[in-house]
Symmetry: C2
Subunit: 333 residues, 2 copies
């Protein structure tokens, strides 16, 4: 099967999407931006052996590839408009491609994000996706808006993806049945698009959690010129921890939550006056929104060259700083 036949067969599923004048097949896709909106763009590359195992289910891989990109749009409060796909493949395996395409299509249809262009080539298995979305001008949620006194919230549950990864690698022992209930959080996370859009005007800052709470929060604090205190009481029994992980000891849960990574939940800051609105929003979206800490004023000179130094501290039950070596997951360290 040739490159062009392959594209026709597996990657033209959005050819009649609304708002797409020209899709897959011409030199460029053409989209009509909505007046009054800013264009939001994000890109992510997933590489075999690094972001997924060679034997991963191609359907869930298709879902995850698009999900992690849509998660960036969610963090900005944007509505999806379309995505491009660059795919490098060692060989053409039709059953694999059919499933991968179906997984992409599933997310694409569920979140209204058509595939508008792409490129396929032979090479190591490597998936590059760029998503584009729109957000009303000036209303995008940024990392840099957090203010001293703001609450800090996380959506959903944290640590599941890393726990599943460690269990699959034989490095963490889970009770029977637990892996099967959390595995989908590693393989097919849900982008929090509705939440992100609803947080516009409510949150002062937001980002998606891809590299672990501790490191990601430090990035938000660095961008905002603030620091953060995180409570740890919620790392006990709380909606932010999957029930199936609550049997793990505290240290393990803390480590999964602080530096697990791959959560694809939203972290956001909001003024205390927004608490009732946020509670109502969580109830409406049927998504747990857990208050996990507080934004503090930057205390003078910060060592800004070290991402996490002093920007984020975890407090124990007695409000004492917990010693923690948790760092953001860094692809090159």
């Amino acid at each position: 099967m040739g490159e062009f036949e392959l594209i026709d067969k597996y990657f033209k599923f959005s050819s009649h999407a609304q708002g797409v004048s020209v899709g897959v097949g011409d030199d460029c896709a053409l989209l009509a931006p909505t007046p009054g909106m800013q264009w939001a763009v994000s890109t992510d590359m997933l590489v075999e052996g690094r972001h997924f195992f060679a034997d991963v289910d191609p359907f869930t891989l298709g879902q995850k590839s698009l999900a992690v990109n849509l998660s960036d749009l969610a963090a900005t409060g944007a509505m999806p408009r379309g995505f491009t796909l660059s795919l490098s493949l060692p060989s053409v395996q039709e059953p694999w491609l059919a499933q991968f395409s179906k997984g992409l299509q599933d997310l694409s249809h569920r979140f209204g994000c058509p595939l508008v262009g792409g490129d396929t080539t032979r090479g190591p298995l490597c998936i590059g996706i760029t998503v584009m979305g729109e957000v009303p001008s000036g209303q995008a949620l940024l990392r840099s808006g957090a203010k001293a006194g703001d609450d800090l919230y996380v959506s959903g549950t944290l640590g599941d993806a890393r726990a599943a990864l460690l269990a699959l690698q034989g490095e963490l022992r889970l009770e029977p049945g637990v892996l099967s209930t959390i595995r989908h959080r590693l393989e097919a996370p849900t982008p929090r698009l509705s939440l992100g859009q609803r947080l516009r005007g409510l949150a002062s800052a937001a980002m998606d959690l891809s590299d672990g709470l501790s490191g990601d929060l430090a990035k938000m604090m660095k961008a905002s010129g603030t620091r953060a205190q995180l409570q740890t009481n919620w790392i006990g029994q709380s909606p932010a921890i999957s029930p199936s992980l609550q049997t793990l000891d505290f240290e393990t849960r803390l480590s999964l939550v602080a530096s697990g990574g791959d959560d694809y939940e939203l972290l956001f800051a909001s003024p205390p006056g927004a608490r009732a609105a946020i509670e109502a929003l969580g109830a409406e979206l049927q998504l747990s929104l857990t208050r996990v800490g507080e934004v503090m004023a930057s205390s003078g000179a910060l060592e800004l060259d070290k991402i996490n130094s002093g920007l984020v501290v975890f407090l124990d039950a007695h409000q004492q700083v917990l010693e923690l070596k948790a760092q953001s997951f860094d692809h090159f360290s």
Copy 2:
């Protein structure tokens, strides 16, 4: 060096670009579309061993990675607005990264296309770029607009890149000095952005030549529901062939021109009434625009499942059809 330090050091060169509200560093980049314009998007992935040699000069690789993407904007008649970069690297080699970044920067500045977002990860050397541009609504040049009776033109010179590649691989012997004069056409092609923008309103169809004239023209004819006759007299001594390749025999030149690939010149169709305007445009841009053939009405049922069957014929000096096995370069055949 960590991922974030690497991004700060080498990939934040566009942080103050005009029209970019938020660039590299947040979850999404934010750009303000210009009212009345459509958004044009294209993506390409370059893989080591497939699109470039491991020992390629990283400066020219940076240039080429962006150039081949800008070439797609050129073919649509769009003005660049920004690009995203996904980079998978086996390891962090600072001298390599510094040069690669400089090559990207060079093209970025020369053509006004800021780097607005990206992703880096460890993996096989793989470069994914998505470019975005703008074109006045309804004025984009498409592949599907060619009409029977239109002239067919190519810009610049064809076959240089393939000749250079074959010479580097030891499969083509060139006169001394020739390789050094055509090698830059393989390693750092020039995107024809000014030409593309000036062809709006003049050309009925356009595309960029990346896979070879014969196959690419067949794609345009398929999209337009037409077929094409190409003369071969211009494959002799003409501005469409580099002087340094004019010493090669006719068959070799024809093969380089018809199926060489990697030309990154524009192919376009335009009504005969536009000839004077096109001649003047070439003179103004100091770029050869060579009339190479003619669009014909589709003669009944075409075997559209075979890309090139009957859609494109080359004629010899006596207007007889030349037998030619030239096909578009296909990454999976």
